[in-house]
Structures are given as C-alpha cells and as structure tokens.
C-alpha cells in the first residue's frame, strides 16, 4: 500500500514587505450590517428550499393518488399562515393555484421566488464577504426559478423542477460549507440556516399532525400511512427514520422530527448546530456583559433535550409547536439585538488600540 505522502510546503506568497504584518486581530469579526445580510441570505435560501420540499412531496403524493386531487393542497396554504392573502388572490385550491402561490407569486412575500429574490439581494450586498462560487450558485438558482412558469407545465415537469431547486440549494449549501472559512461570516450564515430549518421542520409537523391525526389514541399504533412516510420524505428523513424506528407511529415520527439528536433536519439537531455557531462567534469576539441570544438559544435547546414526547402529545402537539415557534422568534429577536441593532452596538465601549 502506498503510504500517505506529505507535500512540500510552498513558500508563503508575498508581494510587498508591508504585507508581512502579523495575523490581524480583525480577521474574524465583521461588519454588523454584513453579518446581518449573510444571516438573512442563509435564512431565505433555506426558506426557499423548504417550500420546494413541501411542494415536491405533495406532487409525489398527488401523482400516486391518481386523479384524487382532494384536500391535498390546502394544508400547504395553512403552513404559511397567510390564508387571508390566498383567499384574496386565489379562487381554487387545486394544485396549480397553490403552486403558483407558493412558488411563483412575485407579490407574495413568502413565496419561493420572493425568498430567493431576498436571498439574492442580501447576498448582493455582501458579495465581497462570501465566496464567489456561493454567489454564482445562488444567482444561478434565482435565474433558474425566474425562468420557469407553473402554468402549462405538467405535474411531472413541476416535480422535476422542484427537485432541481433542491439540488441547486444543496449545491449552494455545499459550496458554503466547502469554500468559506469558519469565521464569523460562515457562523452567521450557519446560524441563520439552522434556525430557519428548525422552524420549517416544526411547521411541517404541525400541519401534517393537524390534518392527519383526528384522535390522540392513535398515536402509538403502527400506521405506515402513505402520508406519514411522505412527511418524512419531505425532509429527506424516511430512510434515516427507518434505521432508527422501523415501523411508523405518530409519536415516533414526532420524536424523530423534533428531538432526534443526530438527524440533520430535526429541530433539536438544528438548534444544536445554531448554538455551536453562536458559541464560536462569542469566542471570536470580546466578552459582553450579557448576551440574550445565547441565553435564549441555550434555554430552547435544553427545552428540547428534556422534552417528553408522550407527555407533549397528551398536552397538545399544536400548542407545543406554537410555543416553540414563538420562542424561536424570540431567539431571532435576541440575535438582532445583540449583533445587528445599531443602537445596541453603539453602547459597547471603545477598546483601546491593540498593541501591534
């Protein structure tokens, strides 16, 4: 066997004697405005990807069910919480209307295209701070979606489209991870991505739980229902679920989506990742007297760590998820106050010049 080889270290590149100054103390911290834009860029891309996931799984289900396009699409409107807007601009609840609304409606602020537009606008203001490859991929995704229309496309065609959106998004996410130094920029992006993902997974569970589960007594019976497996597939979790629990029961699906310690789209896992990034940001920076962001995020993570799912179901799944989303919003607000809010930041005292 050929042993691992170690390549000779190249000489460090120098262009000017001035550049030989030591490692800058400001290599990690970043402009507050830039951090905020990166955070939101990541959130919006994640939001867009999740919309594609919601729709994709529903299309698959509709295709499986044949012509029975009944009540399958309405819950997707409920996920958004924007039923009023929908009622104002759309008449039917068929798949085309719902897909138009969720994916292509440029006036609806939470549509896929609007989310991508916001992601791109945020990225555009921080192009210098993210790798070019990441920007190019996001830009390509945006143009790809903009160049597509729902009407006149078959369901099969749409399914392919949303799968491609997911792939583009994964490419973006992979590039972010593979090309961006783990400074504050990446950590803010990761925090945004993970908080958004936790939120979306909980929403998905909420809606499916509400529509699929009439009686609490069913929670422990094996149902292997097509719809529950569809839910797992929409977060790419079906196979991972099978490895852990095999048969599908409602309590286990909830446990898996909310509390699984290692599945990368579970709420608990996402919060853990967000927490790690926040800790890294804190470590890179100077000590603050208080930091409400870390306090709130830690508390929410601990809440999930200690959660008893059986008990939660007894007390009401919907109530739990509602509370979780509110607390997640609180975390977002605390991040804003701590890192992005100019009025708060200006209160941090000046530090005397570092000795250089």
């Amino acid at each position: 066997m050929i042993p691992e080889t170690r390549l000779a270290q190249p000489e460090p590149f120098e262009f000017d004697s001035e550049s030989q100054a030591g490692f800058s103390p400001h290599s990690f911290t970043m402009l507050s405005r830039v951090a905020e834009s990166i955070y939101w860029m990541a959130r919006y891309v994640e939001r867009a990807e999740n919309i594609a996931r919601f729709i994709d799984v529903n299309i698959t289900f509709t295709l499986d069910a044949g012509d029975n396009d009944f009540g399958q699409w309405e819950p997707l409107i409920q996920i958004t919480g924007d039923e009023e807007y929908y009622a104002e601009y759309y008449k039917k609840h068929d798949h085309l209307s719902v897909i138009q609304f969720l994916a292509f409606d440029p006036k609806y602020v939470n549509s896929l295209i609007s989310s991508l537009n916001m992601a791109r606008e945020n990225a555009r203001t921080v192009r210098e701070a993210i790798p070019s490859e990441v920007w190019e991929q996001l830009n390509e995704l945006y143009h790809f979606v903009r160049g597509t229309e729902a009407s006149g496309t078959t369901l099969e065609g749409l399914a392919e489209f949303f799968q491609k959106v997911k792939q583009h998004s994964h490419l973006y996410s992979g590039l972010l991870d593979a090309t961006m130094s783990r400074g504050d920029g990446w950590h803010f992006a990761n925090m945004g991505r993970m908080i958004e993902r936790a939120d979306k997974t909980s929403r998905l569970l909420d809606v499916k739980y509400y529509t699929l589960l009439p009686k609490v007594s069913d929670v422990n019976t094996t149902i292997d229902d097509l719809q529950w497996s569809a839910l797992l597939r929409s977060v790419s979790g079906f196979e991972m679920y099978r490895k852990r629990f095999h048969a599908i029961t409602v309590q286990r699906v909830a446990e898996f989506l909310v509390r699984d310690p290692v599945f990368p789209r579970s709420c608990r896992f996402c919060l853990g990742q967000a927490l790690e990034s926040l800790r890294a940001i804190i470590e890179n920076g100077q000590a603050r007297e208080t930091n409400s962001a870390i306090e709130k995020l830690t508390a929410l993570k601990v809440h999930l760590d200690e959660l008893d799912m059986r008990n939660t179901i007894d007390c009401g799944m919907h109530e739990f998820i509602d509370d979780f989303q509110l607390r997640l919003n609180d975390v977002g607000a605390a991040i804003f106050e701590t890192y992005f809010d100019r009025a708060q930041l200006d209160l941090i005292p000046l530090v005397s010049e570092q000795s250089q």
Binding site: F15, D16, E18, S19, A21, G22, S24, H26, T29, M30, L31, S32, R33, V34, A35, E121, R124, T125, V126, R127, E128, A129, S132, W135, E136, N139, E140, H143, D184, F188, I281, N284, G285, Q286, Y339, F340, R342, L345, D346, I348, P349, L350, V351, E353, Q356
Partner: protein, 494 residues
C-alpha cells in the same frame, strides 16, 4: 459568408486597431486574426454566446439610473480584443506617468501656495470659480503628498493615428473590475489564443491597489485597516466596489457602517467599534461628509474630513481632486506639464475651445455643427452635444446654454475614433472605441498594462458610455515585441 471570419471585413474610412486595410491585419493582430479565421463555422459565435451567459451567471451587472424595470443590466462584452503592441504601450505609459505627476503637482499647488495662479498660467477665476473647487481643502496636507491615488484616463485614437487624452478622471474612476473580469472570461473562452499571442497580465491590479492604499496609513500603525466605502447597492458601480473589496480582502463599508469618535473613524462590527485607517472612497466629495460638504447627504460620515485633516485617517482619492476633472481645467494640462515638469507633453490633448474666453466662444457658436460641446462638470456622456449628429433645435438649445453660462462649457472638434472589429449578427463590423488605462500613485506611479476598451455598439455611434449603449472589450498589451513589420508606423506615435 455565414462563417464568422474576417474575409469580408471592411475598415471603411477609419483607423482600425486590428487591420491596416480590409485584408491586411496589423502585425500585432495577425495571430488573433488567423486564430479566428481558422475556427470551424459557428464556433466563434457559440463562444461569444457562452460569454454572454457567463456574465449573467456571474451577476456582472451595472445599474441604470431612471430605468424602472429590472435596473440591473449586463455590460455587454465583445470577445475581439483591442491589441496594443509593446512599442505603443511604452509611449502611452510614459505619457500617463508624466500627466498624473503634473496633475498631482497642480492639485497640491492650488490648494497650497497657488503658484501657477500667481504666475497667471491658468486664470485664477477658472480654478477658484469652478464648481469642483473645494475651498475647504485649502491647506490640506494629504498623506505622502499624494492627492490622486487612483486615476482612469480616457484616451482615443484619432484618424491621424495619434493617441490623444480625452478626459482625466480623478474622482472615482470606475471600470477596472470589468478589465479584470473581461480577462478572466477571455482566458476561459479563448485560452489557446491568449497564450499563443502572449499578453501582459492585469490580474495583480488588486494587490497593487491594496499596496497603494496601505502606503497611506498613518506611520505608527503597523497593520492598518483598509476599507472600501460605497454609496450602496443602488449605485451604478456597486458591483465594482464589491469586487475590489473582495479581491483585496478588505471590508466594503457604507456610510452608515462608519462613525467618528474622539478624532478617529470606526466601523461598526458585530463586536462593537473597530478603528479604520485608510478609506478607498467611491463616494463623491459632495456626499463624503455632511458637516464639510452637502449637509443633506445621507451617504457620508459626519466629521470624516476633520479626522482626515488631523491625519488620523487617509482618503483615496483625497477630497478636492475633482478640480482637475473639470473639462475647462483639462484644457490647461499641457501647460501644467510644462510648468511643473519643464517638459513637453508626451500625450497631447484634444484641441479644446474654452467658451469662457470670448474669441473661442465666438468660434464655437459659429461652428456648432462641427463641434462636440461638453459641460465642464458632467460625466457619463450626459450634458453633451455632438454637433454633426444633432438637430438644429438641439444646437440652438446649446447655443443658449453656452451664452448663459460660458464657464460651464468647452468644445472640441468631432473626433473620428478608431475602430475595432466587433461581432454584429453573424459577421464582424468596425465599431468605435476608446481606452481607459488605470494609474495608481502610491510609493511610485504604476500603470496597469491594459485598461478598459469601451466600444460604441450602435452602428456609427461615438458614445461609448455604458449608460448609453456602450460595451467593452479586453485590451491586450503584448508581452513581447513582434517582428519589425509595423515598426515603420513609428511616426504615428511621436
């Protein structure tokens, strides 16, 4: 006929940068012409289309003011390069060095002892009465005595074959990012052609720029923080600001990211304030500091000029350099060169009539149909009359404007800009070009070997500005001398 090559190329009555006659390429362009002629049918066009796609993907766009729908536009790029041989380039480079040295001496003088005004070489009121003259800059001592660190000078070639200076851009010249991206695209699209020809690289511009900026930092700062200051995402050159910051590895800041405290400039980080030592500002003087300039500016940093005056932050370019951009002052640059350097200008000015001077104004008013009239303080091709192409009504309007405010206007003969073959549909046609090289003034003067070749894509048009239907081309400064074929052209450059 359908294959895209030069077999039916027509140089017309113009100086063509690549062709000496319809069928005879210039020696410096021979290799490129051969290369394109032997491409399979349709191949050239296919590659040009790939470039257009790449521009969209890369998001290399600029913003058009006053255009409501989709304000982002691609700056069109044509793949046929402008080619400059080594001999001509050394002539241009020497001329630019000379000119920037004199201009810097001029700015230093007029905000200082004003010797050139005292000696009457330039009428005092033309300088101190100019819109771009900043009284607040009198007595300023910029770091290392340099005012204009980054310059982009517009050159044109007239039908007599000579290279002339059309404009000096000493405020915030833009376009260098396109130079770098164009080269990247060319290397991607025509890798064999570019390596066969041997072209001087432009890629080290950001390093030179960074070095120039660091050179300005206060002496006691070992590791200065350099930033690029942009007016924000809605500025037409935002892409460039972002690109340069990225390439230099420095922060791109907006006015709202900066704050003045205790005589220093700080930026707002996620961790509180951090001191800034050098600002490459891409905001005009007027908007830089509402306390010193326009009080209604939302873009700038209150108190910035005061910190600058104390020497606690460096600005590039220094405030006040716009005076040398004034098109009336331009007319006097040859005089400046003689006065400060004691030498004759290497690159001549275009003949310029200063409307403020009575007999010159009379000539201008009598010959509006032959002249190009320019407002002294406008850029981007605005406020301009191209006499021969204008209607009588437009000419009358400009006659009134000139009479009402003669100080604000100059006129120049209509120039016959040289042309470069440019893809039009399925074949090549000549299109008029200019050339903007970039000059950095730091520890010494450095000229980027190349520059932005802007091309007027509309048939017959002489306006190369991106806001008015212009595109760009890569500029190839040859790395080695070719056989002496065109050395007989030597007379053209002297």
């Amino acid at each position: 006929m359908n294959s895209t090559d030069f077999s039916d190329y027509d140089v017309g009555t113009f100086f063509d940068e690549l062709f000496a006659s319809d069928t005879q390429p210039r020696a410096a362009a021979q290799a490129v012409v051969n290369f394109i002629n032997q491409l399979p049918p349709g191949e050239y066009k296919r590659r040009q289309e790939a470039v257009d796609q790449a521009l969209l993907k890369l998001g290399i766009t600029f913003t058009v003011y006053g255009d409501e729908q989709g304000t982002e536009k691609i700056f069109p790029f044509d793949c046929i390069p402008r080619i400059v041989d080594t001999f001509e380039w050394s002539h241009i480079e020497a001329g630019l060095r000379q000119r920037i040295t004199a201009l810097n001496a001029f700015i230093n003088d007029i905000y200082g002892p004003q010797e050139i005004l005292k000696e009457g070489i330039i009428p005092r009121e033309l300088v101190t009465g100019a819109k771009s003259y900043r009284k607040v800059c009198e007595g300023l001592k910029p770091p290392r005595g340099i005012w204009c660190h980054i310059t982009g000078t517009d050159l044109i070639r007239h039908s007599d074959g000579g290279i002339y200076v059309l404009e000096d851009n000493l405020r915030c010249p833009s376009g260098v990012s396109y130079v770098l991206q164009n080269r990247l695209l060319m290397r991607r699209t025509f890798p064999k052609m570019i390596s066969a020809v041997g072209v001087r690289p432009v890629d080290d511009y950001p390093l030179h720029l960074y070095s120039t900026l660091r050179h300005l930092a206060p002496d006691d700062v070992a590791d200065p923080t350099v930033v690029v200051l942009t007016p924000g995402i809605y500025n037409s050159a935002y892409y460039e600001h972002s690109f340069l910051a990225q390439q230099m590895g420095v922060e791109l800041v907006e006015g709202r990211d900066l704050v003045v405290r205790d005589g220093f400039v700080y930026m707002r980080t996620t961790d509180g304030f951090e001191k800034v030592h050098v600002i490459y500002r891409r905001i005009d003087d007027d908007f830089l500091d509402p306390e010193a300039f326009r009080p209604d500016s939302m873009l700038g940093v209150p108190g910035l000029l005061d910190v600058y005056r104390r020497g606690n932050v460096a600005l590039a370019n220094a405030p006040g350099t716009g005076i040398a951009d004034d098109k009336v002052i331009y007319a006097f640059v040859p005089e400046m060169i003689r006065y400060y350097l004691g030498t004759e200008p290497i690159l001549p000015n275009v003949d310029t009539y200063v409307c403020e001077v009575e007999e010159q104004r009379k000539y201008v008013l009598a010959n509006l149909d032959k002249l190009v009239v320019k407002a002294a303080n406008e850029a981007g091709g605005y406020g301009m009359l191209i006499g021969p192409h204008a209607t009588q009504e437009e000419r009358n309007k400009f006659a009134e404007l000139i009479k009402a405010d003669p100080r604000n206007y100059i006129a120049q003969p209509t120039l016959s800009l040289s042309r470069v073959p440019t893809l039009t549909g399925d074949h090549f046609e000549g299109r008029h070009v200019d050339l903007r090289p970039y000059i950095l003034y730091g520890k010494d003067v450095w000229v980027l070997p190349g520059g932005l070749t802007r091309v007027a894509l509309r048939k017959g048009s002489l306006v190369v500005n991106s806001s008015q239907g212009g595109g760009s081309k890569d500029t190839w400064v040859l790395a080695r001398e070719f056989d002496s074929v065109t050395q007989t052209d030597e007379t053209l450059y002297t």
